[in-house]
């Protein structure tokens, strides 16, 4: 029986444990998690911060039992690759046949005068873990104003969560527009406007130069000489892969622990997944790739798919919260680069209503997109980008379409304009022409037409259309209801010229002058 040891019980490590548990085969899995609680969903922390959830609601599926031994509150202090063991802070040594590092990443603390990364001041927090979240929630009590340093995705999520708690929030961001890695300046400006409407102010192109903090509040000094004061400060200045164990063990480490397509590190008995792993040029820092990696490792370790390989998907940045709907992907933050193939650009901007869209297309494929605000085709755009599928020939579907082809049924047109062949009653396959013929053979009410043709007897959805046609016929073809003598102005016996669209030539109904006299 093989023994798999997983270091880290965050979203990647917990997922791997669950995936291994679901695969066939006999193996012992030990998960060592430094945090004291069960695995939780980091993505839901901003909702927790906003006060909509309780802590148990963010727990993730646990694979404990059934051959999986989960030990929380146990930090790994070293890897002994020669002995194939890991050492823990409680003095234990745990042997492995295969080791998986899922140590994640840590929030970066900027080098600011007055800020000690090892001991953050009372009113200052990072926003990364459940404990960070608890710490912020403790600080929020009685607070009115908050500062967030860093206008990236996580910083904005934190800002929105704090604003949802009623705090007056200001985001301080060093570059000229928010989320500059994902957004172009125009989108950044629209986003800043949207945030303002949600009670989040932004201070752009402002770096922090110093911090003063005590038990009551913080003062952040900015590069322009001004300063901001608040009851608390959340630092959101990026994350750094936690590679200390791997580096100390002599594994190849660049920005993260370097892995191949099979997620193996430079030691084939050690894998790395999630935020700590670097597949390609940079660690991804996102959950979806971490889970995809967990599945590949599970397939490899269980032997279910010995050829399993990790194929990264292009990153899609998505911020969705009450009042904000943002998706950014690919090269949309970039301008046109000289020398490249010509790129097709679609744009739509309605900044007053917080909507902005920019899509870049090359060779009928999306190469990037920014969608902010009300963009009903967002699901389609994400999928086309993900799959490299050809874009619709009608490009408007990408900017304005609800869903492809999902146009609502056309409103009933005037009966006069309907072609005779148009189906009025789908359930019983009754055309307008058939109804006109029915009218001419003497039916004069909706009920009578319905009884004769069965139109309207299925789902009943065409009863209004049927009534419309009866009304129209009564108006344009009323002759039959009038005394014969007065109706005699139409000696030819054909319909009046106002019966536009009715197929008179092919009318097979018995409508003769004689009939009309009888009816009268």
């Amino acid at each position: 029986m093989t023994t798999v040891v997983i270091v880290g019980y965050g979203m990647a490590g917990a997922r791997l444990a669950a995936e291994l548990h679901a695969q066939p085969g006999d193996r012992k899995v030990t998960v060592l998690g430094a945090e004291p609680h069960r695995a939780y969903n980091r993505i839901m922390l901003s909702t927790l911060l906003a006060g909509k959830l309780d802590e148990p609601d963010v727990e993730l599926t646990e694979a404990a039992g059934h051959g999986v031994d989960v030990r929380t509150g146990v930090a790994v202090t070293a890897i002994d690759r020669a002995a194939c063991e890991v050492l823990t802070d409680d003095g234990d040594r745990v042997g492995y046949d295969h080791l998986v590092l899922a140590t994640g990443s840590r929030a970066m603390v900027p080098p600011l005068p007055g800020l000690d990364p090892a001991a953050l001041p009372d009113r200052v927090a990072v926003f990364r873990t459940l404990d960070d979240c608890r710490r912020i929630l403790a600080m929020v009590r009685g607070a009115r104003r908050a500062l967030v340093l860093g206008g990236g995705l996580l910083g904005l999520e934190a800002a929105r969560g704090l604003a949802a708690r009623g705090l007056d929030v200001t985001v301080v961001h060093p570059t000229g527009h928010l989320m500059e890695r994902q957004l172009d300046p125009a989108a950044g400006a629209v986003l800043a406007g949207t945030l303002a409407g949600l009670g989040v102010r932004t201070r752009l192109a402002a770096s922090a130069t110093g911090l003063t903090a005590d038990a009551h509040g913080v003062r952040l000094d900015l590069s322009d000489g001004s300063s901001l004061t608040a009851d608390l400060l959340v630092l959101s200045c990026g994350v750094r892969p936690d590679t200390a164990l791997a580096a100390a063990a002599g594994l190849t480490v660049e920005r993260g622990v370097v892995v191949d397509d099979r997620l193996r590190t430079s030691d084939p008995r050690v894998s790395a997944i999630g935020d700590c792993a670097q597949h390609g040029a940079t660690p991804s820092g996102l959950v979806a790739p971490a889970w995809a990696q967990a599945r590949v490792v599970a397939q490899l370790l269980s032997g279910v798919d010995p050829h399993a390989a990790y194929r990264p998907r292009p990153a899609v940045t998505r911020l969705k919260a009450a009042g904000i709907d943002l998706a950014a992907m690919g090269d949309a933050a970039e301008g046109d680069r000289a020398g490249d193939e010509p790129v097709e650009e679609l744009t739509f901007a309605d900044p007053a209503r917080g909507t902005y869209a920019r899509l870049r297309i090359r060779d009928e494929r999306l190469t990037g997109a920014i969608l902010l605000g009300d963009n009903p085709a967002i699901g389609t755009v994400v999928q086309l980008f993900d799959r490299g599928a050809p874009v619709p020939s009608d490009r408007r579907a990408l900017l304005l379409g609800r869903t492809l082809g999902g146009t609502p049924a056309a409103p009933a047109t005037s009966p006069a304009l309907m072609p005779d062949a148009a189906t009025v009653c789908q359930c019983n396959d009754v055309s307008k022409g058939a109804l006109v013929r029915c009218w001419r053979s003497g039916s004069r009410t909706v009920e009578a037409m319905s009884a004769a043709t069965r139109a309207g007897t299925g789902c009943g959805g065409c009863r209004d259309a049927l009534a419309g046609i009866v009304g129209w016929l009564a108006e344009v073809d009323p002759v039959a209801d009038e005394p014969a003598g007065l109706a005699g102005t139409d000696p030819a016996g054909g319909g009046p010229p106002t019966l536009a669209g009715a197929d008179l030539v092919n009318d097979d109904s018995p409508r003769t002058r004689h009939d009309r006299v009888e009816v009268a």
Binding site: P56, D57, T61, K320, G379, P392, T403, A409, D429, G460
Partner: protein, 674 residues
């Protein structure tokens, strides 16, 4: 509907009834046309040893051929070498008699039916969660009062038009209609909100909806605590279905997921209904379970005007699955593996309980084993046309050809009849009495207006005669009323208890909802108001995860195909394709393609295309429509021959229900050369 016989012809009249409210679609209005149709079989046929063709034969010759064939197979291969295949269109009496015939007269464990391909995933999920499987646990009219109605993979505007009258009520009173369907169907186009997911991703949609309800604080925590078990694991599982990731998987915008969750959770009353679009997958049971989880977390089941339900697909889809046509089941929805159930039913049948066979295998596995060394060598088919309706139909046709004996009872020469050794002409709906149980669990009467034409017998008479010839002298009867009385006794005490349902009571009330344990006991229009029929009285949550389709697209088969119905045709089309008005309305098969896809393939509207999967191909004219996703094509399954959609479909099965994956497979589409 009501029937009137005039001048030897039967006329269809609409009937005001709470379910259809007087509505009939074209199939209903024209149903009588088959009674006197020139294609109707009025004499038995046997395959001539000399010519190899089917030729008319007397009933005596046909029955002797069947009995001789069965005896020969039994002698050589044992009792399980004879199998029975039934249908969801059979009356309760016939479904019951067929199950009894298999277990008592043939003493084979091999019986299953085409309902396995229809409602089995919802049935399994319902049993798992609620301890009972009744399509709607409330009267259909409740739909009209639901403030929010979510239809998942259901297209009643084309498959069950009269139901839309209730939906119209619902919308007219300000209700919100939300439809989940990969196609912009007639039903979806009426919706206030249409979610158009990639085929095969409905489960992820459901988990995301529950995720949102959880994060927004919309759960009915008191209901979850008092009336259910197992929520914690579901809560942890759906924590992994954050909307942005599900949007990427399904293509459904997060904003639409949120709007749906809000509409369901904040409504006074809300109903969630699934149908074949969600169910006919190799993960159909889990997909239905995900929607049941959502309904339970919102506290819907058992609340007036709210709940979860499944839209039944066949004429007697509900009753047909309750009384013993299923491989693992005895009358009253009892389990054939349960010793107490076996003892009760064996007592009613007057046979020793240990003589009853054990469970057989689900429909597709049964058909796929025919004629193989370990599989049955003889098959009796009643009310089904698997040559058209089975997944991977070319393979199943081959299996049917490998049989020593194939007996088919039908009204017309269906595609399956063409492969038979013996064909028995049977009576039609207007020629025999019986009961059907509709999608609400309401037992209804079907009354004969005339006798079958000369040369035609009822299924009950055929089974009684065969049982007698096989040496079972008692216990089979051709009188539906007598069979129904026995069914009542056999079902008594079971989950689907009909003991208190009588023909007279149905006549007096218009219909009786099961369970109804005694003639003087009330029936049960609404289930779950106080408790669930599980051992602890609580509904059971069960955590389920999305998984990919059994066959995903690849370079060689880059598109998805999904299958379904058109309004004017029904099931395998053996009957409806023979009705002139329906043939005019829907004359031939077609393949729906998005215009963008057609342009890339160089296909014009109306041009023949070939759709190829790993299992086979079909050919039909292209129908261009923007209502389908450009990565997906659709074909209706009502036609046989070269345009048979089921030549292409996947025979991957749901591990719980045995439901095949009709609704998604990977295909290649190209212009068919002339």
């Amino acid at each position: 509907m009501t029937l009137r016989e005039a001048g030897g012809r039967v006329e269809v009249l609409a009937r005001q009834f709470p379910t259809n409210r007087g509505g009939l679609c074209q199939k209903g209005w024209t149903a009588a046309e088959l009674l006197d149709h020139p294609d109707r079989l009025t004499t038995p046929l046997v395959r001539d040893a000399g010519t190899g063709e089917l030729r008319p034969a007397s009933w005596a010759e046909a029955m002797e051929r069947i009995v001789g064939g069965i005896r020969a197979v039994q002698d050589r291969h044992g009792r399980d070498a004879v199998a029975v295949f039934g249908g969801g269109g059979l009356t309760n009496e016939k479904a019951y008699a067929l199950g009894k015939f298999a277990r008592v007269a043939l003493r084979t464990r091999h019986i299953d039916y085409n309902g396995r391909w229809c409602m089995s995933s919802a049935a399994a999920a319902g049993n798992r969660a609620f301890g009972v499987d009744r399509g709607l646990p409330f009267p259909l009219a409740d739909l009209g009062r639901a403030q929010t109605l979510l239809l998942v993979g259901a297209n009643p505007a084309e498959t069950m038009p009269p139901l839309m009258r209730h939906v119209a009520d619902q919308q007219a009173t300000g209700g919100t209609l939300i439809v989940v369907d990969p196609r912009a169907t007639a039903t979806a186009r009426q919706a206030d909100l249409h979610l158009q997911p990639v085929p095969g991703t409905d489960l992820a949609v459901a988990n995301a909806l529950l995720h949102i309800a959880l994060t927004e604080g919309w759960l009915d925590r008191a209901y979850v605590a008092d009336r259910t078990t197992g929520f914690d694991e579901v809560r942890r599982t759906v924590a992994g279905y954050w909307p942005a990731e599900v949007e990427r998987l399904t293509g459904v915008p997060v904003a639409d997921l949120e709007a749906t969750a809000r509409a369901l959770a904040t409504a006074r009353s809300a109903i969630i209904l699934t149908a074949r679009g969600a169910e006919q997958h190799a993960k159909g049971v889990d997909t239905v379970t995900a929607f049941i989880n959502l309904a339970l977390a919102l506290g819907l089941p058992g609340r007036p005007g709210s709940g979860y339900g499944c839209l039944t697909g066949q004429g007697n889809g509900q009753g047909g699955r309750e009384h013993g046509q299923k491989a693992d089941q005895l009358p009253g929805y009892r389990s054939i593996a349960d010793p107490a159930a076996r003892a009760h039913v064996a007592g009613v049948w007057g046979v020793p309980a240990d003589e009853l066979p054990g469970p057989g295998v689900p429909a597709y596995q049964l058909l796929d084993s025919l004629g193989t060394p370990a599989g049955p060598k003889a098959l009796l088919v009643f009310g089904s046309n698997p040559v058209v309706s089975a997944p991977r139909a070319a393979r199943i046709s081959g299996r049917l050809r490998d049989l020593d004996l194939l007996v088919v009872a039908d009204l017309v020469r269906s595609e399956t009849v063409e492969l038979a050794d013996v064909v028995l002409p049977t009576a039609q709906w207007a020629e025999e009495d019986g009961t059907m149980t509709n999608l609400e669990g309401r037992v209804l009467r079907r009354r004969a207006v005339r006798t079958p034409p000369p040369g035609v017998r009822t299924d009950l008479a055929i089974l009684a005669d065969l049982a007698d010839r096989l040496g079972t002298k008692t216990g089979f009867c051709d009188d539906p009323a007598e069979v129904f009385d026995e069914l009542r006794r056999a079902s008594a005490g079971g989950v689907a208890d009909y003991a208190g349902v009588t023909y007279d009571r149905i006549d007096a009330t218009g219909g009786v909802f099961w369970p109804c344990p005694a003639p003087d006991a009330p029936d049960t229009p609404r289930l779950f108001t106080d408790t669930f029929p599980t051992p602890d009285g609580r509904a059971r949550f069960r955590a389920v995860d999305h998984r990919p389709a059994a066959e995903e697209v690849c370079a060689e088969y880059p598109l998805r195909m999904t299958t379904g119905r058109v309004l004017a045709q029904y099931q395998s089309g053996a009957q409806t394709r023979r009705v002139a008005a329906l043939r005019r309305a829907a004359p031939e098969a077609f393949v729906e393609l998005h215009p963008d896809l057609a342009a890339r393939l160089g296909v014009e509207d109306g041009e023949d295309v070939r759709v190829t999967s790993r299992r086979g191909e079909m050919r039909a004219p292209a129908r261009l429509t923007p209502t389908i996703r450009p990565d997906t094509v659709f074909a209706p399954f009502h036609w046989g021959g070269a345009s048979r959609a089921n030549s292409v479909t996947n025979d991957a099965l749901d591990p719980v229900s045995g439901m095949p994956e009709f609704k998604i497979c990977a295909v290649r589409v190209e212009r068919a050369e002339a």
